[in-house]
């Protein structure tokens, strides 16, 4: 069949499909729109015609037009449906916890690398108080001391700051640290390792120092309520990073490229959950943690309750559905 005849015979189908795709993309000017039910049939026809046009060496312009049409059709027909609200709810209600349990190895690794230095530094400073100024500059230490001074109206803030402002700052800063901990995993885990150790050491040194100079009541009643959310979120971000590192270091029977994509999907679920935890932590840290509540033990109770709830969530949520 000569090209002209080919164009004459199938041209109408091409225009119809072109119009439908245009209308689907939001072009309001197209009135004549075929029913959606014929589109898969039409699309398969055009695919066939593209193959024919290539095989018969029709002119490049025609082949390009058909290729373009197939490409656009492919985009419309194979677009994944938008993730529904149900999927998100299922993730919150148990999917996230299940993912964390399944990935317990990397979660444990990240937790050891984060909580280990934290506790070590805290203990070390109780024995050798001067050690704090080795890790953190004396100026920063003085500033910290000021933030937690017993004379403050609110805990953990400079007197000029407000709750809303601090909330936004925590979202901006803490979530970013989580994202960096995750992204650093692609460098064979070195970035993740660095951020986990660094934050563990830093947080441990500050807590250790403030406790050691006698600001214990202030610092603990500030930190208690949001500690579970925030610290676990950092550990899970690290776990997400180590998933990427694992894909590079030991991809198993897959190519590294494929392993990265597959492990990346799991890592994304972990970091997504961690990001939600950072956000929740920022709300608590911004609006509840700074309050001075008498007696302090109430806040300690809230803190302990948060740890129990979160650990129970990660331990048991989402087990019912045949996990």
């Amino acid at each position: 069949m000569r090209q002209i005849e080919f164009e004459r015979r199938f041209g109408d189908q091409w225009t119809t499909l072109e119009n439908w795709i245009e209308a689907h993309g939001g072009n309001k000017q197209i009135k004549d729109r075929p029913p959606a039910s014929v589109i898969p049939w039409l699309y398969r026809n055009v695919c066939h015609q593209l193959a024919l046009a290539r095989e018969r060496r029709y002119s490049p312009l025609l082949v390009d037009r058909l290729h373009q049409l197939v490409l656009r059709g492919h985009h419309v027909l194979y677009a994944a449906p938008a993730p529904g609200r149900d999927g998100f709810r299922a993730f919150l209600m148990g999917g996230f916890a299940r993912e964390v349990r399944t990935q317990w190895r990397v979660v444990a690794l990240a937790s050891i690398l984060f909580f280990g230095p934290l506790l070590t530094l805290f203990a070390a400073i109780q024995v050798w108080p001067d050690f704090a100024s080795v890790v953190i500059g004396p100026q920063d230490l003085a500033e910290m001391q000021e933030m937690y001074s017993p004379d403050n109206e609110r805990l953990g803030q400079r007197p000029a700051s407000t709750n809303t402002e601090m909330f936004a700052y925590y979202v901006w800063n803490n979530t970013r640290i989580g994202f960096q901990t995750f992204a650093g995993g692609i460098l064979y885990g070195i970035g993740t390792l660095f951020f986990l150790l660094f934050n563990g050491i830093y947080i441990g040194a500050i807590l250790g120092h403030l406790h050691q100079v006698g600001l214990g009541p202030q610092i603990w009643s500030f930190v208690a309520s949001h500690s579970a959310l925030e610290l676990l979120a950092i550990a899970i971000s690290g776990a997400a990073g180590f998933k990427l590192a694992g894909a590079l270091i030991s991809p198993g029977l897959r190519s590294r490229k494929l392993a990265l994509v597959e492990e990346g999907r799991i890592a994304f679920r972990l970091i997504g959950g961690a990001a939600l935890m950072f956000f929740a932590a920022a709300i608590v840290e911004g609006f509840f943690s700074p309050l001075i509540i008498d007696p302090r033990q109430i806040k300690y109770g809230v803190g302990i309750a948060m740890w129990v709830i979160l650990l129970a969530y990660f331990g048991f949520a989402g087990r019912a559905r045949g996990a």
Partner: protein, 230 residues
């Protein structure tokens, strides 16, 4: 059709045809990034002025917007219909998944979070090295998300073979030769007469009479697409 030099990525579809995606290289992508960086910076500057009079609530709005603009907004753009941030759109690029399907929110967020690693050690040097070391110009984020940055619809150029009286070529042409003649006839008008003649003269065995070479090849093309010869 595609030479080994082309930066094409081939995808086989379930319908049994091959799609050729044209992968975008570092330069257009850097320019697209620059445009995106520009509008984000401008938006933040405007916001900084606007919120400076609002006091502490203003600071909060500013920080939250900054956070969203850096980590979330580009991903939302890339998972919409056009699959592109404004910068990518301006350069005619879009993000697709490795199988040619449109990018969804998950991969879009993944590649956007990984931008931090691509930035290292300084100013996207890591990302550039990664892009130059693979055929698909993937940066680290593209590897993890399984995405590609490709050229979106090339503007369809209204070109056609100028209608002239069809003439049968003096010798019978192989399919690829015929295709070359068609390709030439479609592009001749865009080339400029001198260059067109120069190219047409390469096809010496086809040129028989004293008509201008471009005209002769165009006549053959008219014959080849199926206009009846007299």
């Amino acid at each position: 059709m595609l030479s080994p030099l082309d930066t094409a990525h081939r995808v086989a579809t379930p319908e049994g045809v091959e799609l050729n995606l044209r992968v975008a290289g570092p330069v257009p992508r850097a320019l697209a990034w620059l445009i995106d960086f520009g509008w984000r910076l401008a938006a933040l500057l405007v916001l900084a002025f606007a919120t400076s009079v609002m006091g502490e609530v203003g600071t909060a709005v500013f920080l939250l917007t900054w956070f969203a603009l850096e980590w979330l907004v580009p991903a939302v753009f890339e998972s919409r219909t056009r699959g592109a941030t404004p910068g990518k759109r301006a350069l005619g690029l879009m993000v697709v998944r490795d199988d040619g399907a449109p990018c969804t929110l998950g991969p879009a967020l993944t590649r956007n979070l990984l931008r931090f690693a691509d930035f290292l050690p300084l100013f996207y040097f890591g990302g550039l090295v990664a892009m130059l070391s693979n055929r698909q110009f993937k940066r680290l984020g593209d590897f993890v998300a399984g995405t590609l940055v490709v050229y979106a619809d090339p503007a369809t150029v209204a070109r056609h073979i100028p209608p002239l009286e069809p003439k049968r070529p003096p010798i019978s042409l192989k399919p690829d030769e015929a295709r070359t003649v068609l390709d030439f006839a479609e592009r001749a008008a865009a080339l400029g007469p001198a260059r067109a003649t120069e190219l047409a003269l390469i096809a010496t065995p086809l040129l028989r009479d004293h008509d201008p070479p471009t005209q002769q090849l165009t006549q053959y093309a008219n014959y080849l697409v199926g206009h009846a010869s007299d």
